[in-house]
Amino acid sequence: MSEKGTLFDDEFLKKLEYLNLVSNHMIPGHMHGEHRAKKKTDSGIEFADYRQYVSGEDTKNVDWRTYLRLDKLILRLFEEEADLPIYIFFDASGSMEYGAPVKFDYARKIAAALCYVGLLNQDRVNLVGFADGIAHELSARRGKHQVWHAFRFLEEAEPHGATAMEKAFKAFFSSRRRRGLVVVVSDFLDEQGFSRAFDMLRYFKQDLFAVHIHTPEEAHPDLPDEVLLEDAELGTSQRVRVTPALLEAYAEQFEEHCEEVGGYCRKNGWGYLRTTTDVPFEDLILQVFRQGRFLK
């Protein structure tokens, strides 16, 4: 069972503080709220480029010296620092309520940690729990004071139902969303397949960082000879005569599945991190930082 009320205790908060310090140390001189994306606009300070003047535009940035030399109206463009939003999707399907510690708790801690660092960096952070659609959603927040709000939201979330990532992404990004970083914390055990959901992210031009969680037992299950396997999400069962060969084949299948997810991400230049629940979450967060995708 997932923990309630004790998930984000003092010990956890201390670890978050530590992670925040580490994140500042790892990326020296980075600026809060300005480090995400650069947009060439007519406002701003730092010169970026020129472009042809179009009739009707504001003439304040027309480079008159160039006009005198070339007899052409040229506009000067400046880079505008824009804060890109962070969308943290955590898997709240039935399959996450498995293992010791429970995968869902582990996923919530990761989501909380990334949310904490994002909020402290003055990023706009969205928290979304998904199952066969959007199960829980916390609208975009910014600033340190939103941390407790986010934690309460995570604590109240409960895993339930089947996984349908595509449906959840479609529902979320169909309403106008700015391009940003999508962090998905999940076991990616989706009956419809993860690739269609990822295609959807590509369609919406979102950047993805996938955190793939599973328990050690999932990779190498220890099962009796005759077993009735019950699906935690669907409630269906399957009678299986377990043999070492079958277990070996299953382990290969599992590796293949993980490799598929990771391969898709790498192919699209996305971040991917695979972990088991026996790895301390702070170590995982540090790995996320080291990948450099979360902090820029």
Binding site: K103, L223, L229, V240, P244, Y250
Partner: protein
């Protein structure tokens, strides 16, 4: 395949039950354990691929089932003691007649007896027959139960129960009227008369033997209290033998004699047993080499005492005093009736015209006793009776002639019973009977024996008869229970005592059973046996081989190891193999398969 341990129906039921049980256990699947997994997505994908291997999976399942069935059937069949029929052999019925006469106990040079070799041959014949054939074991002494041929196991059991029979008259048994190959295994010494169709296997081998062919302890007719031992020894060896003869009794060192006997020579010895005390006498012959031991010793019983104390209570009888004074080894004390009291001690009491108020504490001979409380009273006095009948077979009257006996008068007593106070126990036997059924001499076989003469010596001419001293000696001998042992040969022994108890020389009880008015017991070895009947009757039986025929262990027309053509064909066709050990092979197979099953199970090859 046939099964020795169980009938066909039973083994069929066992095998069928095993098959059903194994199949049932295979179909009986325990409920699987429920295990919750995050998702069966990957399992379903995997099992969809695995379904392509269904045929191999089914093959594995069938292989596992076949393994389990083979294991179960191997164990079940092993319990039934299976045996394979030899391929190519037709059904053969085999009858083996095995000679178990006395000479088969002769040892061969290899250290086995002829009997042991015969049993080995018989076992081979039985094992070589076809598994579905019929088998019968017969012997020449009638130990094997007669009947129709049966299965091999029964025949082997009968064979295992047979032994050499030292006694009896061995003869070739009657064969059952069924088609069967007949084999006769013998040394050819004591049994002949085998039918021509019987294939003969000889276990004869020349052997050394010196044996006692006769042994008897007898009193001299002229001197009934003196005994001689008659010993006859035969050298049946193919060479001259130095023989040592030893006679030993219960209380002396015995007699030792050495003699040289030529091949086939028989020599008789008469040995005076004056130096021997009352009790068993054992004769033993030894030679340098002797392959047949059953005739090397013989037993007898010397009945006479070395010194007998006789108390004669008489008012005066010169006849008795003189005759008794002449008896050897006899200590006589003459007492007048007035001096007699119950404290007088003697081995035998002789009361002449006198009877004490109480019975004496020992055997007694009474001549015309007056009435006493412990005696049957006199009814009347009969004048001048004759003695037309007597029983010469009774030990008291042995060698006694009474044709010339004349009696003036005799007392008529109520007989039987003999004793007034013991009507049941004191039944008397009349051994001399006068006219009109007048009992003249009666004997009673109580614990303390009694001989009662119903006339006075002075009233007859009996003391003047030559047989009177013999009568006295016989009477004293019988009263002292002095009788030689009955002579019998080993085997079934019958004694004329009903419901008797039999013990051997060491006092061990021998199994005996009543047969009408006799008792029967089996004396498997030579020895001296004591037979105690109801009441106080007792007999000794000397069981000795003592037979020239049995000692002649080389008296055979067969050659050493001779095997007739038919038998040799069978022996040559023998297929040595573990036919009757097939159950071991089956159990080993089951063990190997269990190990294989264990390995394949643990490697998940069969599931």
């Amino acid at each position: 395949m046939i099964f020795l341990g169980m009938g066909a129906g039973l083994i069929g039921a066992l095998l069928g039950t095993t098959v059903l049980a194994v199949i049932y256990l295979y179909w009986l699947k325990p409920p699987p354990q429920r295990v919750v997994v995050p998702s069966t997505l990957l399992w379903n994908r995997l099992l969809k691929e695995k379904k392509r291997n269904t045929f191999i999976d089914r093959l594995r399942w069938w292989l596992s089932l076949m393994l389990a069935l083979t294991i179960g059937l191997s164990v079940a069949a092993g319990i039934g003691r299976p045996e394979l029929s030899s391929p190519g052999q037709g059904i053969r019925n085999i009858t083996v007649v095995i000679d178990n006469s006395a000479t088969m106990a002769t040892f061969t040079a290899a250290g086995f007896t002829r009997w042991e070799r015969a049993v080995a041959h018989a076992g081979r014949f039985l094992r070589q027959g076809s598994a579905s054939g019929k088998f019968l074991i017969l012997d020449t002494s009638g130990q094997a139960p007669p009947g129709e041929p049966g299965d091999r196991r029964a025949a082997l059991e009968v064979l295992a129960g047979l032994t050499v029979s030292l006694g009896g008259v061995p003869e070739f048994p009657d064969l059952p009227e069924v088609e069967s190959e007949v084999f006769f295994i013998s040394d050819g010494v004591m049994v002949d008369g085998a039918p021509p169709e019987a294939a003969l296997i000889s276990v004869f081998e020349p052997a050394h033997n010196v044996g006692i062919t006769a042994f008897e302890i007898e009193a001299l007719p002229s001197e009934p209290t003196r005994y001689n031992a008659f010993v006859q020894i035969k050298n049946a060896s193919p060479v001259t033998e130095q023989v040592t003869l030893r006679l030993s009794g219960s209380d002396n060192e015995g007699i030792r004699d050495t003699l040289t006997l030529q091949t086939g020579e028989t020599r008789a010895h008469l040995i005076d047993l004056s130096g021997f005390g009352r009790g068993p006498v054992r004769a033993v012959v030894t030679a340098d080499s002797d392959a047949f031991s059953a005739d090397d010793y013989a037993y007898g019983f010397l009945p006479v005492r070395t010194q007998t104390r006789v108390a004669l209570i008489t008012p005066g009888s010169l006849y008795l005093e003189n005759v008794l004074a002449d008896q050897p080894k006899l200590s006589l004390e003459v007492i007048r009736p007035a001096q007699y009291n119950a404290l007088v001690s003697a081995d035998v009491y002789i009361f002449d015209r006198f009877a004490p108020p109480q019975a004496p504490r020992g055997p007694a001979l009474l001549f015309l006793p007056p009435d006493a409380a412990w005696l049957t009273p006199t009814l009347s006095v009969v004048e001048v009776p004759d003695a037309p009948g007597w029983n010469p077979a009774h030990p008291v009257l042995r060698f006694v002639a009474l044709e010339d006996l004349r009696i003036d008068r005799a007392a008529r007593i109520a007989a039987p019973p003999f004793f007034a106070d013991a009507p049941g126990d004191g039944a008397a036997t009349q051994i001399v009977v006068g006219n009109r059924a007048l009992p003249l001499v009666l004997v009673s076989d109580r614990e303390d024996r009694i001989v009662r003469v119903s006339f006075a010596l002075e009233d007859s001419n009996f003391p003047l008869q030559p047989s009177f001293p013999i009568f006295l000696a016989n009477a004293l001998g019988w009263l002292m229970d002095e009788q030689v042992a009955l002579a019998r040969v080993p085997g079934r022994v019958e004694v004329p005592l009903p419901r008797a108890v039999v013990t051997d020389l060491e006092g061990n009880d021998i199994v005996a059973w009543p047969l009408s008015d006799r008792t029967v017991f089996l004396a498997e070895q030579p020895g001296l046996y004591t037979v105690a009947g109801e009441g106080y009757s007792r007999l000794r039986v000397a069981v000795n081989l003592a037979s020239t025929e049995r000692s002649s262990v080389n008296d055979s027309e067969l050659a050493s190891g001779e095997i007739t053509a038919a038998a040799s064909t069978v022996l040559a066709g023998a297929e040595p193999g573990p036919n009757d050990e097939l159950w071991i092979v089956l159990l080993l197979l089951a063990l190997v398969l269990v190990v294989a099953e264990w390995i394949t199970y643990h490697r998940r090859l069969t599931i």
